[in-house]
Symmetry: C2
Subunit: 195 residues, 2 copies
């Protein structure tokens, strides 16, 4: 298959930028449903799909979230139309009989806390990246961040569910300053090997 057209590659990767300020345009709940419909299709190990998402957009939700944010992340996050909490369910394996009916995959993880924990973190993080790129594909801008107190957030949002927070993604329509150059990246020869 040929690559996607250049405008799509620009949108997803080459021209996309992390947003730190936001236009007031709202992000309707139906856009969040469309976002999940895309990201949920992304691959995870044995289809384990451990990620869970909280879309915070009410004043009450924002006020609660604010308690857990690092000071430098408060302003951009409070002004974002939506903040996605990317989390995972440590007991994701209880859904495996339905999600992966081909084998007794639940037994691989139940009682092996270390494997379950690593699997939830790795695959929940993959799903968080799918959220970022699905949001861009839908025309949204993203501001991902890990500058917050995970334990505090978990106490505020997940005391009942037992979910564990991973990172946050502000979502909306970015407001771009004039002088905002992309930071450098490692080259192929620095980051890659051929074998």
């Amino acid at each position: 298959m040929p690559p996607l057209d250049p405008a799509a590659l620009d949108r997803l990767f080459r021209e996309a930028r992390t947003a730190y300020a936001w236009k007031p345009d709202p992000v309707p709940d139906e856009t969040l449903r469309a976002l999940h419909d895309l990201l949920k299709t992304g691959p995870t190990s044995a289809n384990c799909s451990p990620a869970r998402f909280v879309f915070v957009r009410s004043p009450e939700g924002k006020a609660k979230l604010k308690e857990a944010l690092s000071p430098g992340n408060v302003e951009k996050t409070m002004s974002a139309p939506v903040v996605a909490i990317v989390a995972h369910d440590p007991k994701f394996y209880d859904e495996l009989p339905r999600l992966f009916p081909h084998a007794d995959a639940r037994s691989w993880f139940a009682g092996n806390w270390s494997l379950a924990d690593t699997t939830a973190f790795r695959n929940g993080t993959l799903q968080g990246a799918y959220l970022i790129l699905a949001a861009r594909a839908l025309g949204l801008d993203c501001g991902p961040m890990s500058g917050f107190d995970n334990g505090k957030l978990d106490g505020l949002f997940f005391a009942e569910s037992g979910w564990r927070s991973n990172f946050l993604v502000n979502l909306g329509h970015g407001e771009w300053g004039p002088d905002y150059a992309r930071a450098p990246r490692l080259t192929f020869d620095e980051a890659c090997r051929l074998a």
Copy 2:
């Protein structure tokens, strides 16, 4: 901005499938460079870019990799044109003075092994997901997997660099069977909350 056109959303998410068998068409090294050029732009915390990639496509590289694979992953992996080892550099922070010149970010991680380890794993995994979606955007199919012996692979490939393996992604042009239905996914109401 409007969403990408439906064919692009299909390609990236809705119609994309994990490949288990491969057409013989090769993946040229220049495609791997184009792949890295896209994925490197994806966001990481403080632009830390901890992921490192080994693209295994020679018979010698494949033979070495085979030693670390779970038996069920051997056939599909040996027949893939390229296997990407998604790894990360635990000492990624030594590049931060160049990658994130805005602050002394190196000092946040050097000497804080736990934070550095979590940051490398989280952000290296994000970059692995960017690789998967960038490959699809370039017209390749992917077969990601974590069924291998990480310690053994690290000994075989990373004894000198100290890099740590995360997961593998077979890359090429998939060969699709006739009766291959997508496994179910969690619904929005199961995986998401509005707050």
